[in-house]
Symmetry: C2
Subunit: 123 residues, 2 copies
């Protein structure tokens, strides 16, 4: 049980630190089969996903992870990771609560994001 949780934790740390420092650099995590649902927009493939993330209307963003849970998603080493947290954009001091789920699939000793769903959780 310990090992997949470590993978999930490492992924989450890497994902949000990369997102917050330069989200175009997330390209290496996606594939042409990857799916992103972002606030009701549905996008497939690395290029379209990175274009979507890059087009989000803020310059600065900071994610805070409050909870994360990882479960095996299949018998080939896939992982499902659910994250809840908050984000601050630009100079706002009003944190926006979000949840995001990923399915990570293993390939060549690493993992890529096959499924990605992001939703703000309004109060």
């Amino acid at each position: 049980m310990g090992d997949f949780k470590t993978v999930g934790q490492q992924f989450v740390n890497f994902y949000y630190s990369t997102f917050d420092s330069g989200r175009a650099n997330l390209a290496g995590l996606y594939r042409d089969t990857s799916m992103l649902s972002f606030e009701a927009s549905e996008i497939m493939g690395t290029q379209a996903i990175i274009e979507k993330l890059s087009s989000l209307p803020f310059q600065k963003v900071q994610h805070r992870v409050d909870t994360m849970d990882t479960q095996p998603s299949n018998s080939q080493g896939g992982l499902m990771v659910l994250v809840t947290g908050a984000l601050l954009v630009d100079d706002s001091t009003n944190p926006l609560h979000f949840c995001q789920v990923f399915q990570l699939l293993p390939h060549d000793g690493s993992y890529y994001v096959q499924n990605d769903v992001f939703r703000l959780n309004y109060g």
Copy 2:
């Protein structure tokens, strides 16, 4: 794209209406391999999952679904469903925001819940 979304919608409607009317009746949706992560508790198998859900310290509960997103999770017809919403317990008027993700796997013309992660999303 339409069909798997219909399955996701039907599942979500059934899941929360059953939860709110008698949560022990969710047993038919789980298997002995099913995993539930509920607010940091990790549970496996139908019986343990139903015991956990039945032991939650409220008598009445009402879920409100605000958003749901469904994506295919594998090439065998699996689905990943992310739900955000709020729930009211007993006579509280303070909605608790939650997010929950399911992975549904097909079997014999129906679906069961292989993965289930529930988290409250605190303000």
